[in-house]
């Protein structure tokens, strides 16, 4: 093996050792394997109704609605912020849209206004954070403000009868309900942005090591605000889709949405330290949760077991993630056959 001496040459390693590659595969694809396992278990335990197209579509639909929120929270986490104001944004967006439709305005204006609510909230959250205030506390504060605002706008009442939104919420196209298309579109757009555009790369850089980004001249604050805006828009879209699904715009912000979304994000292995993550896996995380709920419902099991199962799964996912990462690092540092310790 050539050693460094007076020649600045390092042995070019073009391939990682095979065991490392396997571990990386487990870490990255583990969630799919887990989901496949769940499907098999429920196919047996909840037969015959579980393993049907209809159930599959129902699971997909449920996952779609909650995953939109998970996408927003996920992007927030990846760019280094935890945006807890999501349910509040969803409520205000839904109520704003509901009010416009109820008072006779065209549906498309309602939709646009709803999304703009998300943009506005994102900008406010971002502005507060770049002033130096703790983003966690700022978004919790915004959550309170927005919850109250939704109630004030709607007079405390639900806005029901939004059947003009059926095209978005319940109608099926090629057998698949509207929300699934919306969710897939959101995920596709965001994934492409994160992986292939400069803005996406810089967002992840800011989330991964804000200091490093700053030192190469990136305007970190701008990207922090962008992260919040994306999160806010996802929250608004989630609220809009939910209101379309139930044909009711409800002003009560459901904080359980945060936990569901965070669980999907955590199941997808997105580290809360920021800087990386796979959005498609976040969607699969949502699918896993929906699968558990559907399977247990068909089996007639109490809902509590669903939450217990979810929690156990989450801890399990964390353990697997940590142990594969540790093994990978160890193997990279020491594990090459015959290799010395100080390879540069």
């Amino acid at each position: 093996m050539t050693h460094t001496g007076s020649v600045p040459e390092v042995r070019a390693e073009n391939q990682l050792p095979p065991r490392v590659t396997v571990l990386i595969v487990i870490r990255d694809q583990g969630l799919f394997v887990l989901w496949a396992l769940l499907v098999v278990i429920f196919a047996i335990a909840a037969r015959p109704h579980f393993l049907t197209t209809a159930t599959g579509i129902s699971i997909l639909n449920t996952a779609a609605i909650s995953s939109i929120f998970a996408a927003g929270l996920g992007i927030g986490v990846m760019t280094g912020v935890l945006d807890l104001s999501v349910p509040g944004t969803a409520a205000v967006a839904a109520v704003a849209m509901g009010m416009i439709i109820r008072d006779g305005g065209p549906v498309w204006i309602g939709l646009v206004v709803g999304v703009l609510v998300g943009v506005a909230v994102g900008l406010i959250n971002g502005w507060i954070t770049v002033r130096g205030f703790d983003p966690l506390i700022a978004t919790i504060g915004m959550l309170s403000v927005l919850s109250g605002l939704a109630l004030v706008l709607s007079g405390g009442l639900d806005i029901a009868g939004l059947s003009s939104l059926d095209f978005l919420g319940t109608n099926r196209y090629l057998g698949i309900p509207g929300p699934v298309y919306v969710s897939i579109a959101v995920f596709a757009l965001l994934t492409v942005m994160l992986k292939f555009t400069r803005a996406g790369m810089r967002l992840l850089a800011v989330g991964g090591n804000g200091e490093a980004a700053r030192r190469v001249g990136i305007k970190v604050n701008n990207y922090r605000v962008l992260g919040f805006v994306i999160s806010g828009v996802c929250a608004a879209i989630g609220g809009i889709v939910n209101a379309s699904y139930i044909a009711i715009a409800s002003p009560t912000a459901s904080t359980s949405v945060i936990f569901q979304a965070l669980t999907a994000v955590a199941l997808a292995g997105v580290p809360f330290t920021g800087g990386r993550g796979s959005l498609p896996k976040v969607f699969v995380g949502g699918v896993v949760l929906a699968t558990i709920n559907a399977g247990l419902l068909i089996m007639g099991v109490q809902t509590y077991w669903a939450t217990i199962a979810t929690g156990v799964l989450l801890i399990g996912a964390l353990v697997v993630d940590r142990s594969t990462n540790t093994s990978i690092s160890k193997l990279l540092v020491t594990g090459r056959a015959g290799a010395g310790k100080d390879q540069a």
């Binding site: 209809a54 159930t55 639909n61 405390g156 029901a160 309900p177 139930i246 009711i248 007639g300």
Partner: protein
């Protein structure tokens, strides 16, 4: 250096003008600093004052000459309960009592703490409580009896392990069993009158932790008298979850044609789910009501029978019983059964 001041403006935002008299008048910069502090302090005091005056807040106080009557609803976000509060306020004012609202905010511990505090420090002359969790109210009863503060408790003596009338407490309890039985009987009546062939029901329940949910469910079973096949049961407290669950249950039980929903959200979700599946249920029996959307659905026939608590009817009787106790707090309070209506 002496200072004499006179207030420029009264009220929570009082700003005192200070005249510094003496040789060592402070420098201009000092004066500016002091003025800024004073203004800042005044503004924050003013803000404090204003927030405590706003309505719909946790504790609003409006002292009357005979004392204050406190009203603590389960949650101030429920419009029905806020109108109950208005009823109490009006009647209290008519008799020269002040009114204070203590929002339970769906948090049993908080509700108990706040009411106990008000009783112990003699802020309240009497209290009307719609408990978040009835059993948690035991310490409140004890404090109230010690302090000779009469109560209206929307619960039953059995909730506290007591039997019969108690000194100083008016119990207005819903007879959950009767409520449930009425729902069950309504289901059978509908099936008979519409001559439904092969009736199969989905029973959509409340969370087990909601007060009375177990009793209501038991009552339903009594009313059904095993004459109706229940395909499946599920629990939900929000429309979206209910809708998803019913969609999935319909896949497993496509012939379910009777909906028995024990709250409004389950009813709304179930109706949406059936509509999305292109089906119409033969009988829809709902225990809930007091909600404009649900009442519209009943009037239009989408809901066959609505069994709802008639809060108005019970109010006057309870109020009169409370007033009697205010004058002699050690007397036994009446036990009033909360009436309900069956419509459709």
């Amino acid at each position: 250096m002496r200072s004499k001041g006179s207030p420029i403006q009264f009220g929570p935002g009082a700003v005192w003008r200070t005249e510094i008299v003496g040789d060592d008048a402070p420098k201009e910069k000092d004066m500016l600093l002091r003025k800024t502090f004073a203004v800042a302090a005044a503004i924050s005091l003013g803000a404090f004052g204003l927030t405590s005056c706003s309505s719909g807040d946790n504790a609003t106080a409006d002292g009357g000459k005979h004392g204050t009557i406190a009203f603590s609803p389960l949650s101030a976000k429920i419009p029905l309960l806020t109108s109950l509060g208005d009823f109490i306020k009006k009647n209290a004012a008519g008799r020269g009592y002040g009114y204070a609202m203590v929002d339970g905010d769906a948090d049993a511990t908080k509700q108990v703490q706040q009411i106990t505090q008000g009783i112990d420090n003699h802020s309240y002359k009497a209290a009307w409580i719609v408990p978040v969790a009835a059993q948690a109210m035991t310490p409140v009863i004890e404090s109230a009896q010690r302090a000779k503060v009469p109560l209206v408790l929307q619960a039953s003596p059995e909730d506290f392990g007591l039997k019969g009338e108690q000194p100083g407490v008016v119990f207005m309890s819903p007879d959950f069993a009767a409520f449930g039985k009425a729902i069950g009987e309504a289901a059978l009546k509908c099936i008979d009158s519409k001559a439904v062939a092969n009736p199969e029901a989905l029973l959509l329940k409340l969370n087990d932790t909601t007060a009375g949910s177990g009793d209501i469910a038991a009552g339903v079973n009594t009313g059904l008298d095993s004459k109706l096949k229940i395909d499946a049961t599920s629990q939900a407290v929000d429309v979206s979850t209910a809708q998803t669950k019913v969609s999935q249950l319909l896949i497993a039980h496509p012939n379910a044609n009777v909906i028995i929903a024990l709250n409004n959200e389950n009813a709304e979700g179930a109706l949406n789910a059936y509509k999305a599946a292109g089906k119409t249920p033969a009988c829809v029996i709902v225990g809930g009501g007091n909600d404009p959307n649900v009442e519209t659905l009943q009037k239009s026939g989408a809901i066959t029978t609505l069994v709802s608590w008639d809060f108005q009817a019970g109010l006057q009787a309870a109020w009169d019983a409370l007033v009697a106790l205010v004058n002699s707090p050690t007397e036994n309070g009446k036990i009033i059964s909360q009436p309900f209506r069956v419509v459709g």
